[in-house]
């Protein structure tokens, strides 16, 4: 007779809610320069998001999805990518994108309504995907990239990301299943920020973790504290390294909290519980690492402010590039046609001519 089968899912945390080491830190985290770098990048992301939301409020940005409270997930995981790896991000993946050579002004351009925002100029990002808006489609693309890598016998891996709500889409599961059975070099981060727009996680699934979704695919999986960038980065680096070396795919559920509206088109006060929201601010990721670095004496308020100033200035430079391209170098009307097929079809040529004739609007 067959035996029963059992599974176990581990939860990883290095810095606890009060920013104290809860476990022996991994090697990289003993390098305080590295930790300062992680902190710096989270700070940049937060500054950039803030500016983008502000731009939207004054009509200079379209719908924008900030990642407030989720900086450790995007940055911690994103920095596990090597230059030769491939990123397949979702719409809230700004953190990962910035970590893999995609320029802030490109991301702004995309959300500002300009296709050129997905034509990444940095060679590191040349194979990266644009953000996926149709939820969960990207997970299959990542599996496809991983398939190509595997078939070619390369030592590269793919990272992709999805929200906890997105795990309810069938395509998510289809991707995990094939990643499992083909042992693909594939790492999927679930950004469990507790909300899918207005729907709380407990109405999304009865699974007690999102990590266990991977059990259905026979895939390695774990849960990490998504407010602890050391945990996120450690798990991601190990998963990517394993993937590059033929060890197969991993799912990482990073538990955090969406401290912002879903996007600038949303008003979370309609459905958020303000108390829960306020409590989440107490464990948010930027502060956590900041407190730890302060406790080590590596950073002080002055250093932090100086970094903030720098980051703000850097964001400003990118905003200027964004405006310059968007407004001073508009795409010509024929751009609507010129990238659809390798060549403009005969049947569409008169339409292209018409668009040119009618000109910009």
């Amino acid at each position: 007779m067959r035996k029963s089968i059992s599974f176990e899912i581990n939860h990883l945390q290095y810095l606890d809610e009060s920013a104290k080491p809860a476990n022996d830190l991994p090697e990289f985290a003993k390098d305080t320069d590295k930790l300062v770098e992680l902190y710096d990048r989270m700070q940049f992301l937060r500054a950039m998001d803030k500016r983008a939301v502000g731009l939207q409020r004054i009509g200079k940005m379209r719908t924008y999805p900030a990642a407030l409270g989720q900086e450790a997930v995007g940055i911690g995981a994103g920095l596990a990518l090597k230059d030769t790896d491939v990123l397949v991000p979702y719409y809230r993946g700004t953190g990962m994108m910035l970590s893999h050579g995609i320029k802030p002004h490109e991301i702004l351009l995309y959300w500002g309504g300009d296709e050129r925002g997905a034509d990444y100029k940095d060679p590191i990002a040349a194979q990266d995907f644009p953000v996926a808006v149709p939820i969960a489609t990207q997970i299959l693309h990542a599996a496809g990239v991983a398939t190509a890598i595997k078939l070619r016998g390369e030592k590269r891996a793919v990272m992709t990301e999805i929200g906890e709500g997105g795990t309810s889409e069938g395509e998510f599961y289809e991707a995990l299943n094939v990643a499992g059975v083909w042992n693909l070099p594939f790492v999927c981060i679930v950004n469990n920020n507790q909300w899918a727009i207005s729907v709380p996680s407990e109405n999304q699934t009865k699974a007690e973790s999102y990590a266990q979704k991977a059990i259905a695919a026979g895939m390695d999986t774990l849960q990490v504290d998504g407010n602890d960038i050391i945990a996120v980065h450690d798990a991601s680096v190990k998963a990517m390294e394993k993937a590059r070396n033929g060890g197969g795919p991993t799912l990482i559920e990073a538990i955090c909290y969406r401290l912002c509206d879903h996007t600038t088109a949303d008003d979370a006060s309609r459905y958020h519980d303000q108390k829960v929201h306020d409590k989440a601010w107490e464990v948010e990721p930027v502060k956590r690492l900041e407190d730890y670095l302060k406790s080590l004496g590596v950073l002080d308020d002055k250093a932090i402010e100086a970094m903030a100033k720098d980051n703000k200035a850097n964001v400003e430079k990118e905003v200027e590039m964004y405006f310059d391209i968007l407004n001073n170098q508009p795409q010509p009307p024929e751009a609507m046609f010129d990238y659809l097929y390798a060549e403009v079809p005969e049947k569409t040529k008169p339409q292209r001519e018409e668009a040119i004739r009618r000109g910009a609007k």
Binding site: Y91, G113, G170, Q351
Partner: protein, 329 residues
């Protein structure tokens, strides 16, 4: 005596849902964010509070699931009203709509029926992100077994949605989101449904027929105004019930005017405008004095917000096309 309310299109949608939910306990709204949040456009605002969370259900995030559950519920005699958050996200549900909802009555010889109203906002013009602005009604209009309805204004939204909710057939109810808050109508809150299979003649005229539906009715009517200023007598038809389509109203008009232009927001190739033109070319060819004009979205992907208005058919394009057709002798 029924009262009258001044409503936007989206308010008319809410009003029709509210009216019918009060009368028919089998109606259940479901979808992503339709509950406490009242839908991302607020179409279901207040309805969960009023009818409870068993009549207005937030679902997990999965469109195939939303459609597939609806099929199962309908087979049990319920009347599910699934909302797809944006029409660009209906594709995961395509399989369920095409292979199950549209076919169940036929494949069971009428034993199991599918009174489902799939509601979804569609179309461009509000500068939304990628995938939020397309008009893909033709994909569904080609599927036998479905009805596709597109209200162009608040009055029609109210009357056609009531008709949908009362219909035993599966219906795609496409709400032109650009019009959601564009105009207000005095709508009689009388619970009277409009017919499911009739075009509306919005303006009568003798020289040319302009045919459109959904948000483009706005441009079409403005074009008719402009043409009228030049002394052209324009007949304007709002197709509204785009599948199955009422050809008689269109033929009658073309027989009178002999000239027509179809206006659609969707890409030109294979759109509903082609179906209308083909039907006219088959049945009323000899009524035509001029080629059938089509104004349509270009055969390319709806550009992102920055160039969106270069893609959308404009009043100017409709007027020019009409003038071309009118000049033809």
């Amino acid at each position: 005596m029924s009262d009258t309310k001044i409503l936007t299109l989206i308010e008319a949608v809410t009003a029709a849902l509210d009216h019918e939910m009060g009368l028919d306990k089998e109606i259940v709204l479901m979808g992503e964010d339709v509950g406490k949040n009242g839908g991302v456009f607020r179409a279901t605002d207040g309805l969960q509070q009023k009818y409870g969370d068993e009549r207005v259900m937030d679902t997990p995030l999965a469109e195939a699931m939303i459609a597939g559950l609806s099929v199962g519920m309908a087979a049990q005699g319920m009347k599910p009203v699934p909302e797809i958050q944006f029409m660009g996200f209906v594709f995961p549900a395509f399989n369920q709509i095409a292979t199950a909802a549209a076919r169940m009555r036929n494949r069971t010889r009428g034993r199991l029926t599918m009174p489902i109203t799939f509601r979804m906002p569609y179309g461009g013009g509000i500068h939304a992100p990628e995938h939020h602005s397309e008009s893909t009604e033709a994909l569904f209009a080609h599927i036998p077994g479905l009805r596709v309805l597109i209200p162009s204004n608040p009055t029609r939204a109210y009357g056609l949605l009531l008709a949908s909710l009362r219909s035993p057939d599966p219906i795609l109810f496409l709400e032109p989101k650009r019009v959601y808050r564009m105009v207000k109508h005095e709508v009689e809150m009388n619970g009277v449904a409009l017919p499911l299979d009739k075009c509306f003649v919005d303006r009568e005229g003798d020289d040319i027929t302009l045919i459109s539906w959904g948000a483009m009715m706005h441009e079409t009517l403005l074009a008719a105004d402009q043409l009228a200023k030049d002394g052209v007598s324009v007949e304007v038809i709002d197709v509204a019930t785009v599948a199955p389509m009422d050809m008689e109203t269109i033929f009658t008009s073309v027989r009178k005017t002999g000239r027509c232009v179809v206006v659609q927001e969707a890409p030109r190739a294979g759109g509903l405008g082609s179906e209308i033109a083909a039907e006219i070319a088959e049945h009323e060819l000899m009524s035509l004095i001029a080629p059938i004009g089509r104004v349509a979205g270009y055969d390319t992907i709806m550009p992102y917000a920055k160039m969106e208005m270069q893609y959308m058919p404009s009043v100017e394009r409709v007027v020019e096309e009409a003038q071309k057709v009118l000049k033809y002798v």
